[in-house]
């Protein structure tokens, strides 16, 4: 394991320290916790607070999206491990200014359970809390009998859309309706070129051969649905857009937002090349691209690879995506 760290046990604490000290104009930390919140909370008195979080190792998610027009607070768990209810509860208390708090949760049993417990705690103290569980990763089979799909990079679109709505003054019920409306329209799929190593584990979650890739991996080293030889970018795009289209069943003229997300070690050069191929393919399908974003935003430590999120949007949603935002990472 080759990482710029000190004690593997302390990576999250030291990371949060470094983050908050680097960006005091954006973030403050609740002492002794992994909770970071907007430095200027007083400016959003009366608005619904938006809290997200999850395991660490996905930086800049979630803390990088705390700020004007997006999240009010983020809860940083251990690496790839859901944060605990007490910390989520601290975040909820911090950002509630009477209008209630909306939680954005990625669909992992751990995250769902810990956020649920925090929600119970908050409700016992009469804080109104609602939530959405994002499950955008289509690599996983869906079924009501199973855990369902994972929450991955599409969660960032959820943060953006809800953050804009909250900033415009939406109340808790309106945020819930909006979240539920957009949820089925956000879908993601990934391809990995290498695995990632959790510092405390010391070896990669999976390894790939010199010329091997894996389709459908998650953001915590979860294996995907198929391994094959390395393909040109255009071929990757065929596979990933193909899978997404099977789900969306797009029609000519449908409007989409596109997020090409680097998984950590993949340079922007490759991400832009990939995006270029994606845009060509979406044009072939007759889709209208209304919004685009490229960058390593929902990472998986130093995993190499890319995920592609498509988000079927209305003009109203595009407005939220373009709404003024001031965060470290958006």
């Amino acid at each position: 394991m080759k990482k710029i760290i000190n004690d593997p046990k302390n990576v999250v604490d030291e990371m949060v320290q470094g983050l908050v000290r680097s960006y005091p104009e954006y973030l403050e930390r609740i002492p002794e916790t992994g909770v970071v919140y907007r430095h200027d909370l007083k400016n959003i008195q009366g608005q619904v607070g938006i809290v997200s979080g999850g395991g660490s190792g996905h930086e800049p998610t979630h803390a990088g999206f705390v700020g004007d027009g997006m999240l009010s607070a983020a809860v940083c768990g251990e690496v790839f491990t859901s944060p605990t209810p007490d910390q989520i509860f601290e975040a909820i208390k911090k950002v509630d200014s009477g209008a209630g708090v909306f939680l954005v949760i990625k669909n992992y049993s751990g995250d769902v359970m810990n956020f649920e417990m925090a929600q119970d705690m908050a409700e016992m103290e009469d804080i109104k809390v609602k939530s959405i569980v994002v499950d955008d990763d289509i690599a996983v089979e869906n079924s009501t009998y199973t855990q369902g799909r994972r929450g991955v990079a599409g969660t960032i679109f959820m943060h953006k859309v809800l953050g804009a709505a909250a900033a415009k003054g939406a109340n808790l019920d309106e945020l819930e309706q909006l979240a539920q409306k957009v949820l089925p329209n956000i879908k993601t799929i990934a391809v990995a070129l290498s695995g990632a190593t959790v510092p405390e584990v010391g070896k990669p979650g999976f390894t790939l051969g010199e010329d091997e890739i894996e389709y459908g991996v998650g953001i915590h080293g979860e294996p995907g649905y198929r391994r094959e030889k390395l393909q040109p970018s255009k071929a990757l795009v065929e596979e990933l857009v193909g899978k997404l289209n099977q789900e969306f069943k797009f029609e000519k003229g449908d409007q989409v937002a596109v997020l090409v997300n680097g998984m950590g070690a993949t340079p922007l050069m490759e991400q832009y090349i990939f995006m270029n191929d994606v845009l060509n393919k979406l044009a072939d399908l007759g889709l209208e691209v209304k919004f685009t974003k490229v960058g390593s935003l929902m990472t998986s430590l130093e995993m190499a690879g890319i995920s592609l999120t498509l988000f079927k949007v209305s003009d109203e949603i595009v407005e939220n995506l373009n709404y003024a935002t001031d965060t470290i990472a958006w």
């Binding site: 605990t84 751990g110 359970m113 959790v198 979650g205 080293g221 979860e222």
Partner: protein, 187 residues
């Protein structure tokens, strides 16, 4: 009937197993999960041991509550709320009657995880054991081993679907350690 000292030695023995099998639990969690179950449990049990060491508890529910809070606030992931809830529900039983504790813990886990038996989770170890009036280490081992052939439909292992077959569930394994540690205390 467990008393406070019994619970302390239960936790001591469980902690020994967790620390000794730290890497093994994470290894079990690698092919079908995210490789952190050993870390999660080791971190949690360190916190538990610290919280109960040199501390006097008035009764069994009090120590169960402390254990629950340590697990809930230190483990995170899926296993934190599940084990935390198990001990919280055991605290609600009111005494140390094992035949009541285990069913209470099981019910808590099932409710928290929205899981049934046969889904390749720790429920598949707790359920057969909690239903028995008496159980042996062998019963526990069999229940743990039985998760190997199951297809996961809850937890991270569900993402790999049929490819989860052939791997023991890590939460089942750690639950097995817990239940066998209890046996040693009861003996």
């Amino acid at each position: 009937m467990l008393d406070v000292e019994n619970v302390k030695s239960w936790m001591t023995k469980f902690n020994e197993q967790i620390q000794a099998h730290h890497d093994y639990l994470s290894e079990l969690d690698t092919p079908i999960g995210d490789g952190d179950h050993g870390n999660n449990m080791a971190r949690g049990m360190n916190a538990v041991m610290e919280a109960i060491a040199d501390k006097d508890f008035t009764d069994v529910p009090a120590i169960f509550k402390t254990i629950a809070m340590s697990l809930i606030s230190k483990v995170g992931g899926a296993s934190g709320p599940l084990y935390g809830t198990a001990f919280m529900e055991m605290a609600k039983v009111g005494d140390g009657e094992v035949s009541a504790l285990l069913p209470a813990a099981l019910a808590g886990i099932k409710k928290r995880g929205k899981a049934e038996t046969g889904e390749k989770t720790m429920v598949d170890v707790w359920a057969p054991i909690a239903e028995k009036t008496d159980f042996t280490a062998d019963d526990v081992d069999k229940a743990v081993e039985a998760t190997k052939d199951m297809i996961a439909t809850k937890g991270r292992a569900s993402y790999v679907g049929e490819r989860s077959v052939g791997h023991i569930d890590p939460g089942a394994m750690s639950s097995g350690y817990l239940l066998k540690a209890l046996l040693e205390v009861e003996e």
